[in-house]
Amino acid sequence: MSPQELAEAVVPATADTRRRIPLWGFLKGHPQAAIGAAILVVFALVAILGPWLAPYGPREQVGPIFGTPSNPHPLGLDDAGIDILSLLIYGARITLIVGFAGALVAVVVGGTIGIVSGYFGGRIDNLLMRVTDYFLVIPDLVLLIVVASIWGRSLRNIIIIIGLVYWTFMARLIRSQVKVVRERAYVKRAQALGASHVRIITRHVLPQVLPLILAQTVLMVALAIFLETAISFLGLGDPNAPSWGRMIENAFDRSAISYGAWWAIVPPGLAVAIVIMAFNMLGTAAEDALNPRLKVSHLLRRHFRMRPLPDREDPR
C-alpha cells in the first residue's frame, strides 16, 4: 500500500464503475455489509416508530434521580428520573437525522467543489485546493467549539458545522476520481462533439462518481454522528434536542460517575458505537466492492481528513 493511496484514498485508474453491482449479490458477498445494513434498518425503524415504541415520555419523571435498573425500567433512570430506554428510543431519531443531514451537507458541498475542481482543472483547481488545504489543517473540534459559540447551539447549526468540517475530504476524493474519469474516452468524445460542460458532467462524470460518493456518504454519516456526540458532550449541543450525545452530557454533568450510575452513560455510548460501526461496515463493504484494494481510507478520515500528499507526477 503506497503512501499515495494512503493519503488520497484514490480509486485506481482501472476501476470502471459503470458495471452495475447488484444489491443482493453485494450483500451476499459481503456479510459484514449485511450485518451493518440489518443493524441500521433496526435503528431506522426505532427512530421512525419512536413515540409508539417508547414505554414512557422523554420528559416523564417516573422515579427518583438515577433510579437503578429494575423491572419496569430495564435501563434505569437518568438524572431527572426519566426512563433511559425511552430516551434512547427518542434519541435515535435526532442522532440519525443529524448524522444524515450533516453528511448530506458535506457531500453536497464537497462533491460540488470536487467535481468543479477535478473537471476544470487549472487555476480553479489550484484555488479550490488551497482553500481545501486550509480547512484540512484546522483542528476540527476546536473550530466546532468556536463556531457553536458564535452561531449558537441549534441542530441546524450543528449540521452546518459538520458539513463545514468534513466537506474537504469529499472534495479531494471526488476530485481525484473526476480527474480520472475526465480522461476517459467517452468524455473526450463528448467534448470533441461540443457538448456543454454541464451536460458532460451530469451525463458522463456524475454517474461514474456517484457510486463512490454514495459509499463515502455512508461513511460520512458515521463521522457526523461521532461529531455530534462529541459536540453535545462538550455542552454545545442543541438544548432542545435530546440526542444520545446529550444523554451522556447530562449524566456527566450531574455527577453520574461519582454516583455510580453507569446505566446513564453506558447505553447511549453503546448505541452510538453500534450505529457508527454499522455504517462503517456498510460503507467499507461498498468501498471494497468498488475498489478492492482500498481498505483503510475510512479510518484515516476522522483524524486527518485526507491531507494532500503530492501526486506522484508533481515532483518531477
Partner: protein, 563 residues
C-alpha cells in the same frame, strides 16, 4: 457574576456557621465532634498543630491580582493573604481584624482605625501607610484600572495614615455600610506595588503578584500558584493575629465534581466546597465524612426584559402576565429534581442569610396552573388549537429563553418551567450559550435591552443587601443589570437606604423595595440552592470547611485531630 460567586462561598460558609445557630443546618448521622457547627462548644485543645489542609473546588481563581480578578475563589485567596480592617465572625457580626478598634466622627464622615502591628511575608513591616497607599490608589483610579475595588470605598475622599498604627478614612457623606464595604478592602503592600503603578495606574492591571513570590500580609501568603492546579498558602510568620494551627492550606481546582469527589474519596483532599445535591446522601451516610448543609445566597431566577421600550412581545411587560407565568413554575418539582431536595422556595432576591433584611411577609406565588390559565384567559390571550395562546394583535405566545451554560442544573430547570408553561399555552425554547454571550444577548443591542424576552440565571449576593438591590437600578444598565429594569421610585429608595444609618429604618426601606420588585416582577425568584459542604473527619473544629472569601475562618483552631 463570578465575583459574586466568591461571596457565595463565604456566605455559604458563614451560612453553615450561622445556620447551626439558626437551626437550619443538618449534620446527619455522625457522632463525635465536627457535627456541631459552632466550634465554641467543642474544645479547641483537641487539635494538634501542623499539616496541610487540602481543599477542593470546582471554580478556580482567575487571577492573583485584585484589580483583575473576578472569580470567587480569587477572593478567597485575597481574604486570607491580604489584611482587611474588619471581618465577619461566626455569628456574622463584623469585628475587627487588622483593626483593633475604631471610632466614627459625629457626622459619620470620618472613621479612625487603630491597627495592629504585623509584618508582610517578606519581613517588611505592615503599617497604616500600606492602607493609606491602597486607599489612595483606589480613590484616584477607581474610575479606571482600580475599578474592581472601587465599591469598597464608595464616597470616600481620602485615606490617610497619621502614624504607623492609625488609619483615617474621610468620606464625602455619611455612608450606611462602611464596615461591610471595608470587609472587602484588601490592603496591598506599598513596597511591592508602588513602583509598578505606572502612568495613570496602567501598571495596576498588569501586575503579577505571584511572580517572584507573593508578598502576603494576612494569615497566609501564596507559596505556589497554579490556577488550574493547586495553590498553596503558607503561614505568614508576621501575621498580626493569632497564628493558624496548620502549616499550610492547599486549594486544588477541578474541572468537574466527579474528579474532585474522587480525590476526596481517595484521601487526596480534606474538604470540598460543594457537593452536588445528587450525592449528598452518599456522603451523609458515609462515616468517613462530615456533611454540612445550610442556607446560601444562591437563588435561581427567571428574568423578564423590563425595558418598556422593547419593541416585540410587549405583553411580557404586563405584571399580570408575569404573575400568571409565575403560577406556572413548579418550585417544588424544581427543588426535588434539580436540587434533590436541598433547596427552599424563593420569593425575593434574599435568603435567610441576609438576616432581618429578608422580607418574610412576601410569599412565593402558588403553583396553580388553573389559576394562571384563568388570568391569561381573562386578559384575552385565547388558546389556539395547537395548544399555544394567541395574542389579540396577532402572533402567539412563543418565546426564546436565554440560558447561560455555566449555571448548574439550568437545563432541568428550564425543562420543568417549559412543561409548566406549556400547560398554560405558553411555548418556550432554549437558547443556550456561554455566560459572556448570554450576558451580551440580554443587553443587546449595545446595552439597550431591547431584544431579549426571557432569561434564566442565578444570583449570589452578599450578606449586606446593598449590592443585590443595586442590580435593578437604572444606572446598572450595561453593568450588572440583567433585566433592563429601571424604576425611579425604586432608585430613590435605593439611594436612601445607602445613607440611612439606623438599621431599623434601613430595614423598612429594604422591605419596601422587595415589595416593589415582587409587584413589578422583573424576576420570578425560583428557589434558593442550599450549600452542601463535605469534609473528612480527620480534622476538627471545622466550623467553616472551606476557605471563605468573606468571613474569616478561625484557622487558629482548625487542626488535625490530636488523637
Amino acid at each position: 457574576m463570578k465575583r459574586i460567586l466568591a461571596l457565595l462561598m463565604t456566605l455559604v460558609l458563614a451560612a453553615a456557621i450561622a445556620a447551626c445557630g439558626g437551626g437550619e443546618s443538618t449534620t446527619p448521622g455522625q457522632g463525635g465532634d465536627g457535627g456541631d457547627a459552632t466550634g465554641a462548644e467543642t474544645a479547641a485543645a483537641e487539635a494538634k498543630p501542623g499539616g496541610i489542609f487540602r481543599l477542593g473546588t470546582t471554580s478556580g481563581p482567575d487571577s492573583p491580582n485584585p484589580f483583575v480578578a473576578f472569580s470567587a475563589t480569587s477572593y478567597i485567596f485575597f481574604t486570607n493573604t491580604y489584611p482587611t480592617l474588619v471581618q465577619y465572625d461566626e455569628d456574622f457580626q463584623l469585628v475587627g481584624d487588622w483593626a483593633e478598634s475604631w471610632e466614627t466622627s459625629e457626622d459619620g464622615k470620618v472613621w479612625t482605625f487603630k491597627v495592629k502591628p504585623g509584618e508582610w511575608s517578606d519581613g517588611t513591616p505592615l503599617t497604616a501607610k500600606d492602607a493609606a497607599f491602597t486607599g489612595s490608589l483606589i480613590i484616584e483610579y477607581g474610575d479606571g484600572p482600580a475599578g474592581t475595588m472601587a465599591p469598597y470605598l464608595t464616597n470616600a475622599a481620602s485615606v490617610e495614615a497619621p502614624d504607623d498604627s492609625t488609619v483615617v478614612i474621610t468620606y464625602e457623606k455619611a455612608v450606611a455600610n462602611v464596615l461591610p464595604q471595608l470587609q472587602q478592602l484588601f490592603i496591598l503592600p506599598q513596597h511591592v506595588l508602588e513602583p509598578l503603578v505606572g502612568d495613570k495606574g496602567k501598571g495596576l492591571k498588569k501586575w503579577d503578584p505571584v511572580k517572584g513570590g507573593q508578598v502576603g500580609g494576612g494569615s497566609f501568603f501564596i507559596k505556589e500558584y497554579d490556577d488550574k492546579g493547586t495553590i498553596i498558602l503558607e503561614r505568614n510568620p508576621g501575621y498580626y493575629g493569632e497564628a493558624p494551627l496548620v502549616d499550610a492550606v492547599g486549594v486544588t481546582v477541578y474541572q468537574n465534581s466527579d474528579a474532585m469527589l474522587a480525590a476526596l474519596d481517595g484521601g487526596q483532599l480534606d474538604s470540598v466546597d460543594t457537593v452536588p445535591p445528587t450525592l449528598a446522601e452518599q456522603y451523609a451516610s458515609n462515616p468517613k465524612f462530615q456533611l454540612q448543609i445550610g442556607d446560601s445566597t444562591f437563588v435561581y431566577d427567571i428574568g423578564f426584559n423590563s425595558n418598556p421600550d422593547k419593541p416585540k412581545n410587549k405583553e411580557l411587560l404586563d405584571p399580570k402576565v408575569r404573575e400568571a407565568l409565575a403560577m406556572g413554575v413548579d418550585r417544588q418539582k424544581i427543588i426535588d429534581t434539580v436540587l434533590n431536595g436541598y433547596g427552599t422556595p424563593a420569593a425575593t432576591m434574599f435568603t435567610p442569610l441576609s438576616g432581618e433584611y429578608l422580607n418574610t411577609e412576601i410569599q412565593p406565588e402558588p403553583f396553580d396552573i388553573a389559576a394562571g390559565n384563568a388570568i391569561l384567559d381573562e386578559l384575552g390571550y385565547a388558546m389556539g388549537s395547537d395548544g399555544v395562546r394567541t395574542k389579540p394583535d396577532g402572533g402567539t405566545m412563543e418565546y426564546e429563553v436565554i440560558l447561560p451554560e455555566s449555571v448548574e442544573g439550568i437545563d432541568r430547570l428550564f425543562e420543568i418551567v417549559q412543561d409548566g408553561w406549556g400547560q398554560m399555552g405558553v411555548k418556550i425554547t432554549a437558547n443556550k450559550m456561554d455566560s459572556t454571550a448570554a450576558f451580551e444577548a440580554i443587553g443587546a443591542p449595545d446595552w439597550k435591552y431591547l431584544d431579549f424576552d426571557i432569561m434564566m440565571w442565578d444570583w449570589v449576593g452578599y450578606i449586606d443587601p446593598e449590592f443585590m438591590l443595586s442590580v435593578v437600578t437604572c444606572d446598572q444598565y450595561g453593568s450588572w443589570s440583567d433585566t433592563g429594569y429601571c424604576n425611579p421610585e425604586y432608585d430613590e429608595l435605593y439611594a436612601q437606604q445607602g445613607v440611612t444609618l439606623d438599621p431599623a429604618v434601613r430595614k423598612d426601606i429594604v422591605w419596601e423595595m422587595q415589595e416593589i420588585l415582587y409587584r413589578d416582577k422583573p424576576y420570578i425568584q425560583v428557589a434558593q440552592k442550599q450549600s452542601i459542604v463535605a469534609y473528612t473527619d480527620q480534622w476538627t473544629n471545622l466550623t467553616d470547611p472551606f476557605l471563605a472569601g468573606l468571613s474569616k475562618i478561625p484557622w487558629e483552631v482548625i487542626g488535625q485531630k490530636a488523637s
